[in-house]
């Protein structure tokens, strides 16, 4: 279950970063630019999961508070 725990921690970190409104760092250019393209697909899938988790939590709070 450790892999799930690590993944959940990552999701929590992404949610807290999103709530704080942290901006993404600018992509480096020139020599500092990454040689491989970033895993854009994985990021979007993670973003989808983060959005789902956030919306479920929000609806839970609404249902709890009436």
């Amino acid at each position: 279950m450790q892999h799930i725990k690590n993944y959940m921690n990552k999701i929590e970190a992404l949610i807290s970063a999103k709530e704080k409104g942290a901006k993404k760092t600018k992509e480096a250019k020139g020599l500092l630019a990454p040689t491989k393209p970033s895993t854009a697909k994985q990021q979007t899938e993670l973003d989808v999961i983060v959005t789902f988790v956030q919306s479920i939590r929000q609806s839970r709070e609404e249902m709890k508070n009436g």
Binding site: I4, E45, I49, V53, M63
Partner: protein
């Protein structure tokens, strides 16, 4: 299968045994029904919102199974049924856990997300029962012989200490 002993069952599968079955004969060898993570997550949300599923999941949560283990089992069930791939399933696990959390909290059922979340000082009933069973099976009664001084003709004479 009935003739197999337990030792035969745990033998490793011979290499290439998967090729002896018909291709696409099992659900997990066919292409998955849901490919996008978005669709898989929505499918689980819809499934876990149904009344029968809520009842079943509450029964499971009440037994004290961690939500992560439940979510993992549900996800593997989806893979075995050919609904989605294991990659998409692992990505969707947090959504399943959140849905199970919501179900438990709204119905007032205590839960733990991971195995080590609970109070470690509490000993489970199963462990207590096993300990009692083990302790009661190993009881050996000690027979203490009473120290009675024998008197009369048949009495043994006390040994005298030999002088050096």
């Amino acid at each position: 299968m009935a003739d197999l002993s337990p030792i035969d069952v745990i033998k490793p599968a011979p290499p290439g045994i998967s090729w002896t079955d018909e291709p696409r004969g099992t659900p997990w060898t066919t292409p998955p029904k849901l490919v996008q993570v978005n669709d898989v997550a929505q499918g689980y949300i819809t499934n876990l919102s149904s009344a029968s599923m809520i009842n079943n999941s509450l029964d499971a949560i009440e037994t004290g199974v961690p939500l992560a283990a439940l979510a993992n089992a549900m996800m593997l069930g989806g893979v075995a049924a050919g609904i989605h791939t294991i990659d998409a399933g692992i990505l969707v696990i947090p959504v399943i856990i959140e849905m199970l959390k919501t179900t438990a909290e709204l119905h007032g059922v205590k839960y733990k997300v991971f195995e080590d979340d609970g109070d470690s000082s509490v000993v489970p009933d199963r462990v207590v029962r096993q300990a009692i069973k083990k302790a009661s099976s190993n009881v050996v009664e000690e027979v203490v012989e009473p120290n009675i001084e024998v008197a009369g003709l048949m009495a043994r004479k006390p040994k005298k200490m030999e002088s050096m």
